[in-house]
Amino acid sequence: MENIYELYTPEQLEMIHNSDHYTMFYAILGQQLIDELGVEGESALREATRRYGKDRGAYRRQRHLDANVKINMKNLFSIGSDLPADPRFHGDQLRLIPEERNTHTLRCPMAELWIDEGYQYVGRLYCEEFHPACYSSYAFGYTKVGLAKTLTQKGDEYCAFNIVLRQEDLPEELKPVCFEHYDPYYTGQTKSIPKAEAKTGFNLLTLRVYYYMVEVVRERFGPEGIEALSHGLEKAAVYAADHLKLAAQAMNKPLDVAFADANYPLYWNPDEDPVWEQYNRHGAKELLKKEFYPVLRRELGL
C-alpha cells in the first residue's frame, strides 16, 4: 500500500483526508442501518442514496442553468464539478461529447477505502444507487446511466461509465436547453463555475448524504431507526478521531481544532456551517450535535 505522506503535498493531503472521511462517514452509517435494521435498513439506505444523488444532480443542473450552460453530458463532466478532485483518482476518458461520456475509472480512492475497511457491499450499493439518480436528475430524468462495471463490484478491474443523453429521448422544449445546435441564439456561458474545494466541497457532500439518511430513517422507522443512526454516528466519530490522530502524527502537526477543521469534512463547530440553513429539518443537525460531536471531541481530547 502506498504511503500517501511521501507522495502528496500538505494541500493534497487535506483533500485526501476530507475525501476519506466523507467516504467512511457514509459507509459506517450505512452499514449500521443494514446491521441493525436488516433489509429494511438497506432499503432506507438505498432510498437515501438516491435522494442524495437527485439532490446533487439538481444542484449541478441549477448551477449550469444559472451560468447559461447547456445541460448535457459534456458540460456535466467538464464544468464545475461538485466533487473535489482527489489526486489519487485516475481515469481514462474515452469519449466526451454533449451526448455521451465514456470513461474508465482506473483508480477510485473511495472504492479502495471501502474494500480495505470491509465495506464493499455498502460501497457497491452507493455506486448502484447514487450515479443513476444523480446523472438522471441532472438532465431532467432523461439520462441513461450505464455503469455495469465498477471497482466496487467483485471481479471488476475498473469502472466503465457510459452516460448518455440522447436527443431523441428529449421532449421538444428541452432540446434547446440541452444542445447548442437546437438554440441558434445561444450566446455561451455567462459566468464561471468554480470547482469544489476540499473542505467546503466535502462538507457539502457529507452533510447532505447524512441529511437524507436522517430524512428517510425518520420517515420509515421513527425512533428505532434514529437509534441505529446514533450508533453509526458514534462509530463514525471514533473512526474520525483515530484517523485524525494518525494524520496529524504522520504530517508532524499538532492535533488541534484547526487541524481537525481542515482535515475533516464537517465543521468543528456546526453552528458556523452555513449549509445547515438549507438542510435544517428532521432534527439532523441536533442529532449530530448530540451523538457525533461529543464522542469526536472526547476521543481527540479537544
Binding site: L94, K144, L147, A148, Q153, A160, N162, Q167, E168, D169
Partner: protein, 295 residues
C-alpha cells in the same frame, strides 16, 4: 457452434435481424433523424412487452421472478446459440456478463447497418428488465463493441429485494442476500424456435406500428410496409446462401423451417388484423415471389 439442431435457430435469428434492420431503416428513410425517436421508443416498448410476457410466464409456472430465473428459463424467448457470454456475477439479484459474440451485431455489421445496434441495445434490454422487475430493477450497459477500442459488451442487471415492498419479496427472492448460482448453460434449447421468433417479430412490428401512429398519425405506418417488403427481399438471398451451405434446395420446405413467418402467415399469436394483413401482403407474398424468381 453449428450443431444440426442449432442451425435453423441461427437462421431464424438472422431473419429476425433482417426484419429489425429493415423496419428501422424504413422509418429513417421516411422520417429522417426524427425517426430515431420512433426507433428508440419502439425498441423499448418491444422489450417491455417481452419482459412482461416472461414475467407472466414465470408467475404462471410458479417460479420466483428474479434475474436467475429470467436468464436461465426463457419461455417466450429463444437464445441463438451463437451468442457467447462471459459471466461475472450470477444470482437472483445480479446478472453481470460480457457479451463476446452477438449475432445481431454481426449481421448488422456485415450488411452496413451497425449504427442501428446502439439504439437496440440501449432500449430493448432495458425495456425487458424494467418490465420483468416492475421497474424496480436496473439494466445498465457500459461497454459496447460498436465503439472503437471496445471488444465486448458489458451488461449489468440488478434487482434488489430492498428496492421492492416487503410483501412482494417472497414472489421474487428466496432470501434477502443472494448466493452465487450456477451460471446459465451456453446453449439453452428452445422447444419452439420458430414460434419464439415469430412472436418476437410480431411484437417488434406491433411496437413500430404503435409508435409510428403515436408520433405521425395512422397513415404513417405505410412506411413499415416498405420495411417489411425490404426485409423479405433481403431474406431470400440470405437464405439462398444458407441453403447452399447446408446443401439443401431453397424451396417452401426450407423457408418453412428457416424463417419465422414463411410464405403463408399463420398469425399464431393473434396479431391485430391490420398488422397481420401487413405481414401477409408485404412480407409473406414478397418472400414467395422472390423465392419463385430465384428457383
Amino acid at each position: 457452434m453449428n450443431r444440426i439442431d442449432q442451425v435453423a435457430t441461427q437462421n431464424l435469428q438472422d431473419c429476425w435481424s433482417i426484419l429489425y434492420k429493415n423496419l428501422a431503416k424504413s422509418v429513417l428513410q421516411v422520417r429522417g433523424k426524427d425517426g430515431e425517436v420512433v426507433i428508440r421508443r419502439a425498441n423499448h416498448l418491444c422489450g417491455e412487452r417481452m419482459g412482461a410476457l416472461e414475467l407472466k410466464n414465470h408467475r404462471e409456472a410458479g417460479k420466483l421472478t428474479n434475474l436467475q430465473t429470467y436468464f436461465t428459463t426463457p419461455v417466450s424467448r429463444c437464445i441463438d446459440p451463437r451468442f457467447r457470454f462471459q459471466w461475472q456475477l450470477f444470482n437472483e439479484q445480479e446478472a453481470v456478463f460480457d457479451v463476446i459474440t452477438c449475432p445481431i451485431y454481426d449481421y448488422l455489421l456485415k450488411t452496413g447497418a451497425k449504427d442501428l445496434m446502439i439504439s437496440f441495445c440501449e432500449e430493448y434490454h432495458h425495456g425487458c428488465i424494467m418490465a420483468y422487475t416492475g421497474k424496480a430493477g436496473q439494466c445498465t450497459f457500459s461497454e459496447n463493441f460498436v465503439y472503437m477500442g471496445e471488444n465486448s459488451c458489458r451488461f449489468g442487471c440488478y434487482y434488489r429485494p430492498a428496492n421492492i415492498p416487503a410483501a412482494e419479496r417472497p414472489a421474487s427472492f428466496s432470501a434477502d442476500r443472494a448466493e452465487e448460482a450456477q451460471r446459465p448453460d451456453p446453449y439453452i434449447p428452445c422447444p419452439d424456435p420458430k414460434g419464439a421468433f415469430a412472436l418476437w417479430g410480431e411484437l417488434l412490428l406491433t411496437c413500430y406500428m404503435e409508435e409510428m401512429t403515436a408520433r405521425y398519425g395512422e397513415g404513417s405506418v405505410c412506411a413499415l410496409s416498405e420495411g417489411l417488403k425490404a426485409a423479405a427481399h433481403e431474406t431470400i438471398p440470405y437464405l439462398k446462401q444458407r441453403s447452399i451451405s447446408l446443401r439443401k434446395p431453397l424451396d417452401e420446405a426450407f423457408l418453412a423451417e428457416h424463417t419465422f413467418w414463411g410464405t403463408r402467415y399463420e398469425n399464431r399469436f393473434a396479431l391485430a388484423e391490420g398488422a397481420a394483413k401487413m405481414v401477409e401482403i408485404n412480407y409473406c407474398r414478397t418472400l414467395k415471389a422472390d423465392l419463385a424468381s430465384c428457383q
